[in-house]
C-alpha cells in the first residue's frame, strides 16, 4: 500500500512538474510565434501586391481581419492612431503598413464573421477558437472565409500545427498557411499560387524563393 502510495505521489509530482514545464514551453513558443507572425503582416504589406482600390477605404487603412481567437496579444495592439505592431523584429513599433494606418477587425466566431464581414487586405484565420464562444474547427473557419471572400482581393493567411495540416488548408484555397517546423525550429509557410491568382494578388519573387516557403 505504502509502496503504491509513494509511487502514485511520485507519478503525480512528475506529471504535475512535466505538465507545468510543457505548458511554459508552449507558452514561450507561442509568444515567439505570434511575435514573428505579427511582424510578418508588415512584410506581407510589402511583398504582396494588391490590385488598386480593392475595396472602399483601402487607400487610407490597411485592414487586417482576425477570424477566431486573436493570438497576437500585445504584439498587435491598439495605438494612438490605429493599431501598432510590436515585434522583436523591429526596434520601434510599426504603426503603418504600406504607409497606411493599421486597422484590425476581430471576428470571434464564424457566425459573427458571416454577419459582420467587412473587406480587408489580410484575413488571418486563427488556429484556435476564441474563448467564450462556440468551439469551431479550423476547417469551419477556413471554409466560411473562403466562401465569404471568394473573388475578392484578400490575402488569406492560415496557420496549422504541422505541415500536413498546413498543406490541406492551403490546398483548400488559403493563399498562405504557416506551419511550425519543430525540427528546424523554424516557422515555415506554404503558398497556394492558384489561390494567389484567384484573389488577383501578386506575391513578389523574393518571398516565393525563400527556403521556408513551399509552393503548392
Amino acid at each position: 500500500m505504502r509502496r503504491i502510495l509513494s509511487t502514485l505521489c511520485l507519478a503525480l509530482c512528475f506529471t504535475a512538474l512535466s505538465h507545468s514545464s510543457t505548458a511554459d514551453a508552449q507558452q514561450a513558443v507561442r509568444n515567439r510565434e505570434y511575435d514573428i507572425k505579427a511582424g510578418y503582416f508588415f512584410f506581407f504589406g510589402g511583398y504582396v501586391q494588391w490590385p488598386s482600390n480593392p475595396f472602399q477605404g483601402a487607400e487610407k487603412e490597411f485592414v487586417i481581419g482576425v477570424l477566431g481567437s486573436n493570438p497576437f496579444g500585445t504584439h498587435l495592439r491598439p495605438g494612438p492612431d490605429g493599431f501598432v505592431i510590436d515585434s522583436s523584429q523591429f526596434r520601434n513599433s510599426i504603426g503603418k503598413i504600406q504607409r497606411k494606418r493599421i486597422k484590425v477587425i476581430e471576428y470571434d466566431s464564424v457566425d459573427e464573421f458571416e454577419m459582420n464581414y467587412r473587406p480587408c487586405h489580410i484575413l488571418f484565420i486563427s488556429r484556435s477558437s476564441a474563448p467564450g464562444s462556440r468551439a469551431e474547427t479550423v476547417q469551419e473557419r477556413v471554409s466560411v472565409a473562403l466562401q465569404k471572400t471568394k473573388g475578392q482581393p484578400v490575402l488569406l493567411v492560415g496557420e496549422a500545427v504541422n505541415k500536413r495540416e498546413s498543406e490541406s488548408i492551403a490546398a483548400s484555397g488559403v493563399t498562405i498557411c504557416y506551419w511550425n517546423d519543430l525540427n528546424a525550429d523554424r516557422l515555415k509557410m506554404i503558398i497556394n499560387r492558384q489561390a494567389e491568382r484567384n484573389a488577383q494578388l501578386t506575391i513578389r519573387a523574393p518571398l516565393l524563393h525563400l527556403s521556408i516557403v513551399t509552393l503548392l
Partner: protein
Amino acid sequence: MMQNLHDLSIRIKLIGSLVTVVSVVLVLSTVAGLVEHYQSSKAAMVNQFSVLADSLGEASTTALAFFDDETGAEVLASARLEPKLVFVQTFDSAGNRFASYKQSDSVSDDVLLSPGQDQILFKGEFLHVSKPIVYEDEVVGRIYLRASMRSLYATTRHKVYLATLSLLICLGIAVLLGSLLQRAIAKPIQQLAAATKKVAREGDYSARVDITTGDELGVLCDGFNTMLEQIQQRDRELEKHRTHLEELVHERTSRLEAQTQELTDSNERLERSNQELDDFAYIVSHDLKEPLRGISRYSSFLAEDYGDQLDQAGHEKIETLQRLCLRQENLIDSLLHYSRVGRAEFAIAPTDLNEIVEQVCDMMHVTLDEQGVDVRVPRPLPTVKCDSVRIAEVYRNLMTNAVKYNDKPEKWIEIGFLQHGQENTNLLKQDGVVFYVRDNGIGIREKHQQSVFRIFKRLHARDKYGGGTGAGLTFVKKIVERHGGKIWLESTYGDGTTFYFTVEPGVVA
C-alpha cells in the same frame, strides 16, 4: 664639400644638374602618380564594396524579414564572384549573427565594426564595411563585409617597381643625353679653359680655340682668339721697338764713348799743354830774370861809375832803364807766382775765414789806417775747407783792389757771404755759400767787367791808382778755380763793385 663641388668640371656639373632635374621631376611625378593611383584605387574600392554591401544587404532583406538564414546564406554565397571579398556576415535586427560567407575556412569571422551607421575602415590588409539593411525605412538587419587589399597592395607594389625601373631607365637616358648635350656647351668651355691655362702657365700666346658656333660661347671664343691675336701683334711690335731701342742705345752709347774718349784725350792734351805752359812760364820767367838782373846791375854800375860823365838826360835814361827793369822783374815775378799757383799742391783744411780776414787786415793795417777805410764784417764768416794761405791771398788781393780803386772820401769795404734761401738774390746756386767783397769804389764799366780777370790787364794808366802789374785778379781767379769755385762781379760804374766767389769743398760750420 662645397668647395669640392665648386671645383668639379663643368661637364660633371652639367650632367649632374640635368640628372638632378630629371630625377627630381621623375621622382615627384612618379610619387604623385603612385599616391594618386593608390588613393583613387582605395576610393574605387570603397565605392565598389560599399555598393556591394548595399546590394548584398538588399538581397538579404527578404531572408532577414522571414528569418530564412538558409536563403540568407545562399544570397551571400554569390559574393564568391568577387575574389577580393573574404568575409561577409549579416545580422538580424537584434544584432544576432544571421548568415555568413567565408572565402575559405581559414578566414577569421571576427567582426571589427559595431552596429550603427555606414562604416568604412581600412585596417590591416583589409577594407571593412558595415551597413544597416533597411526595408521600407525599417532597419531589419546589418551587413558586414571584409575585402582583402592584397591585390591593391600587389598592384601598387608592381607599379612602384615599374616606376623605379622607368626612373632608372630615364636616369640612364638623362645621363646619356646629358653627356651628349653637354658636349655642345662643355667642350668649348673646356677648350677655352685649356687654352687659357696654356697661355697663363706657359705664356704661349699662339694658343687658339677652334670653335665656330654662333652662340655666346662662339662669341667668347672669338673674342679670346682676337685678344690673343692682338697680344701677339703687340708683342711683335714691342719686340721690334725693343730691338730698335737697343740699336739706338748701342749707337748712342758708342757715340758717347767716343766723345768721352775724345774729351779725355783732349783733357789730357790740355793738362799736358797746361803743364808744359806752366813749366815754360816758370823756366822762361826764371831764365828771363837772370839777364834782367844783369841789366839792372849794370845800369846801377853805369850810374855809379859813370854818373859824373852823364848829363841830366843820361841820368834820366838810366833811371828809366832801371824802372823798366824793375817793372820787368815785377812782371816776371807775377808770372812766376802765377805759374806757382797753377803748379803747387793745395793744403786743404778747415779754415776759419774770420781769422783769415783778421790776418789780412793786420797785414794791410798801415794802408787801411792811412786811407781811413772802414772794413765791415756784418756777421761772422763760416769755417770753410780750403787752403788758408791761398784764400788769404784772395781776400788780400780783393781788399787791396777795393782800397786802391776808390776815390771816395769815406771808403769802406764789406766782407760777407750769402747763403741759399737767406737773401733775395739770384746769384746763388741751389746750395752752398757765396762769399763777397764789396766796396764803394770807382766801379767797373760793364764793357770791362769780363776782361778784368785777364793777366796783366790794367784798365787805367800805368801810374794811376798806385800802379801794379795787373795780375792780382788773375791769381784770385786761378785760386778760386783751383778750389773748384767760380768768381764773378757786379758793379755800377762810379758807385762800387762787388766780387763774388764760391769754394767747392764747401762750408764746414
